[in-house]
Point group: C2
Chain length 322, copies 2
């Protein structure tokens, strides 16, 4: 995207639910991974010319005093253009699956309550992520897809809103979006996954690349817990959407992609994520799938093209055939 200021969107980062929450512990953030990621992003965005400025001036738990705000007049904040999208992990999934919000049912008590409860849970996570980013000097603004007017028809994206995102980027702000409960013109309501939001934004705003943060080092040919699992280093997607593994060379032609999918992951597991990555890649935007909190994640944020990744980099690149 060439903005009025002529600067391109550098990167869309998808913080996977499994990467930043403890998936098996109800509404529990993985504070360590989230903090590390926010520090890495701050560094990569060059968020403050010197020391990061804390932009979360809110009351912390048990901190009753008004925070001391630095005298910042005259300083400027140099920020690269990023958009952040996060999944739900242990937030939202319980509420959504208990009430089957993805299937509609807004006219019933359980459907309506589930819609409300799901939004409370995912916006709570969004709030915490925005605060964690802001405390590292990143000018983050939470934007809920529901509030911004995103909606679906028979679960496929129907309406979306990117002008606010463009405006935010032009003003040097970092939009933070998430999977959300939204209206559906056919079935009343559904769940709009963070992956679908990511896909739409990647297609419309054309970042230099996108980064998927996960809790494993990339995509494997079988569940990563399997001792023989092989990390897929590069997946090339053809114009018709078909894709093949180009690195490493795997002898068995039948090897498919198979990973563990947690039962409560209502928006799909790793296989669905590869399919999403392939759709993004085919539009010409490289996708790097990488383990959260590692040097490889930082390298993925920083790189200007896949050719600039070091030989030591560990992760999966999904790209279009050239």
């Amino acid at each position: 995207m060439e903005s009025p200021q002529g600067q391109a969107l550098r990167c869309i980062v998808k913080m996977g639910g499994a990467a930043i929450t403890h998936k098996d512990e109800f509404e529990s953030i993985n504070v360590e991974k989230l903090s590390t990621t926010c520090r890495q992003l701050s560094q990569s965005m060059n968020a403050s010319c010197n020391t990061p400025i804390n932009m979360d001036w809110s009351r912390g738990d048990g901190a009753p005093l008004v925070p001391e705000v630095l005298e910042l007049q005259g300083n400027s904040i140099c920020t690269e253009r990023f958009i952040i999208i996060h999944g739900a992990g242990s937030f939202g999934h319980f509420q959504a699956s208990k009430s089957s919000v993805h299937k509609g049912g807004l006219e019933t008590a359980i459907g309506k309550a589930g819609f409300v409860a799901t939004r409370i849970s995912v916006t709570k996570l969004n709030q915490e992520i925005v605060r964690a980013l802001a405390s590292e000097g990143i000018p983050a603004v939470g934007i809920s897809p529901f509030s911004a007017g995103w909606s679906t028809r028979s679960r496929a994206l129907e309406q979306y809103e990117v002008s606010m995102l463009r405006k935010s980027l032009d003003c040097g702000l970092i939009p933070v979006l998430h999977g959300d409960a939204v209206f559906d013109s056919a079935q009343g309501c559904t769940i709009l996954s963070g992956d679908v939001v990511l896909r739409k934004l990647a297609q419309d705003l054309k970042p230099l690349h996108t980064v998927f943060l996960t809790d494993v080092p990339g995509v494997f040919d079988r569940p990563p817990s399997d001792k023989d699992a092989i990390l897929l280093e590069e997946i090339v997607v053809h114009i018709d959407g078909s894709w093949k593994i180009t690195r490493p060379v795997i002898l068995s032609a039948k090897t498919g992609v198979e990973t563990v999918t947690a039962a409560h992951d209502t928006t799909g597991g790793m296989a669905a994520k590869i399919a999403e990555a392939a759709i993004i890649a085919v539009s010409g935007v490289d996708v790097y799938i990488v383990e959260v909190g590692t040097q490889h994640a930082l390298e993925a944020f920083n790189c200007t093209s896949r050719h600039s990744l070091s030989k030591e980099w560990v992760g999966t690149i999904v790209r279009a055939s050239s």
Copy 2:
């Protein structure tokens, strides 16, 4: 507003910042007043046919267990159409005034940090209010004006979005909006007060009436702390915007309206609120200004017209001349 279902918007409730927060204690909710208000609203909306259904299935502070969700299949929720707007009180004002967000300055470090910090604080309050409403069975959905695309030009409202609100009401949901930091096409950014949001929605959606919840019994002719202060029972607004006190009859023709305005109330005090109420009233929508958490507040929520208010009702009615 006649919706597709033909049902009118019954009431827009403005929860004043002073009514639901401790204004002198940084980011502190007045839990008692907020709880009472949510119970009253639940009762008034007939939110559940029987016992209110808890729609906040989120983890409470220190409650690590997944909540037990009631089996609700088959139940339906009868909800009157309400919109709730809240002020900021001790949330947001500190951040906004420290950085002068209302004057713009998004290109400076302090302005950008203040914008981010203000949004964090007001959305934190919104989250807590939505949860409090949901826990009383009200299907509340938080909608931030910034996220929904509201913006100003030279601090006057320029863009706004009500289609999501209409859709939410048609689906039986209760939108909860708030004062917010927004973009301004002339000066970069500013503060959009909850009162301005209220005025626009009242004009566009034509509720039967609006209710302003405050921390005093209504509007007085001088600061309510003054022992001689007289409660103004009715203010009538003429088509040209001028207004006069019609009840009680006050002998001194010179008596103006004067109340205490806290120094950190960056969006104006009671005088500004009367001006806002007058603008709403002149469009034909009655405004009831009433003390939070009282029987009078409940009566204001419940009433179908000002003529149905009891003789014992205490508050200020602002209405158009007939």
